[in-house]
Structures are given as C-alpha cells and as structure tokens.
C-alpha cells in the first residue's frame, strides 16, 4: 500500500489532494501543514511515506529548504520528493529540478489525474 505525505500550508490544497489520492488510487495519506511538521512526519519510522508531495512556497521553511534538510537526515534522505508549485515560468521549474527532487508537479492539479501524475513521475507501475 502506497503511503503519501502531503506537505502544504494551504488547507484546501491538502484536503483536495488527500481526497483525490484516497479516492482515485486508494493510497494512504498523511498531511502536514509546514515544512517542520513534514520533517517530523517523514522521519517517523512507523509511518515512513512511500513519497512526499510538497509545496514550494510555504511560510517559515519553504519546500526547497525542507527538502535539503530531509536529504541531510538518513531517516528521510531516501524518500522521493515531488515538489508542487504554482510557478509556471521555466526558470523556476529548472531551479526546482536542479535541487535533485524526484519531480515537479504543477498547481492547479487535476484531482482526477493527480495519482497517475505521481505514479508516472516516480516510475510506479501499480
């Protein structure tokens, strides 16, 4: 069973993404409303996520900073991270891709196809 951790400070994005992935793919979902809370959730060995879907622009610790911190911790370094951004300019996309994340997805996402976008980005066949 896939277990996805969604990290986003916007309540409605978390709700719609969680609903989408639960309803269309049957995946287990955890959510966190900040980078700091996301790091704690990801590092919990009892609920280690299969992948993380994380917003780029968050107050406090943004997505790229949170990703770098996760990369420094052996408990979280191996978890694939997909960044979620509403920035559509190519320069932003290249900057995010250069961080070493598993992929970049764009807001607004289509709730009907979000799970397949994640699977495709991560090379998941099931």
């Amino acid at each position: 069973m896939r277990n996805i951790l969604i990290i986003d400070d916007e309540d409605d994005i978390r709700e719609v993404a969680a609903l989408s992935l639960e309803a269309t793919a049957g995946w287990d979902i955890q959510t966190a409303c900040s980078g700091a809370a996301g790091i704690l959730a990801a590092a919990n060995p009892k609920s280690r996520p299969s992948a993380i879907l994380m917003d780029v622009m968050m107050p406090g610790m943004d997505g790229p900073t949170t990703f770098r911190k996760m990369q420094q911790d052996p408990l979280t370094a191996g978890i694939p991270v997909l960044l979620l951004t509403a920035k559509v300019q190519g320069v932003d996309q290249r900057r995010f891709a250069d961080l070493g994340v598993a992929g970049v997805l764009f807001k607004p996402f289509d709730p009907m196809t979000l799970a397949s976008q994640i699977s495709q980005a991560l090379g998941w066949k099931d």
Binding site: D11, A86, V88
Partner: protein, 103 residues
Amino acid sequence: MSEIEDQTAALLAALWVKNRPLIEERLAALDAAAATDGALGEDARQQAESAAHKLAGSLGMYGYDDGTRIARLLEQLLESSTPEPERLRRLTAELRATIFPDS
C-alpha cells in the same frame, strides 16, 4: 464517468462549498487592493499578490480553469510595486464574476 470519478467529483463539490469562505477571503484581499485606486500600500500589495497566487494554484482544482488564468494575470500584475489601477480593478471584477457569476 466511472463510479470512482463520480464519487470523487461529488466529494470535490462538497469541498468547494466548504472552502468557499477561504476563496471569498482571498477575493476580498484583491477587492481591497483594487479599491485603493492607485494608492496601494506595500503590505496590501503583498497580501493581494499572495491571494492571487493561492487562487491561481487552487481554482483549477475545482474546475475553474478561467479563474486560474485570471488569477495568474493578477499575480503577475501585482508583482509590480505600482500595479496599473484600472487593470487591477478590471481583472479583479472579472475573476469574481468568473467564480461567482450569481453574486
């Protein structure tokens, strides 16, 4: 549409209703910026830009693709420290009419 898609669409519709106050709050930040008629302070500009960014990233999830398009134009406009007042008013009114045509 499959049964799963039907169920997902129904749940999304319910979330749209639940989250309407959040959408209204973001529109209100844009209304406030548009009402300043060129005397937009930096704090209000930043709040409006943030509201436009969040609307651009969320409206399309609910099927309001035109709303996302207009919100992106507003976000770009509000990146300027001196956004053109008339364009700000027009786009804000257009966005509200697109999302809530009956209001």
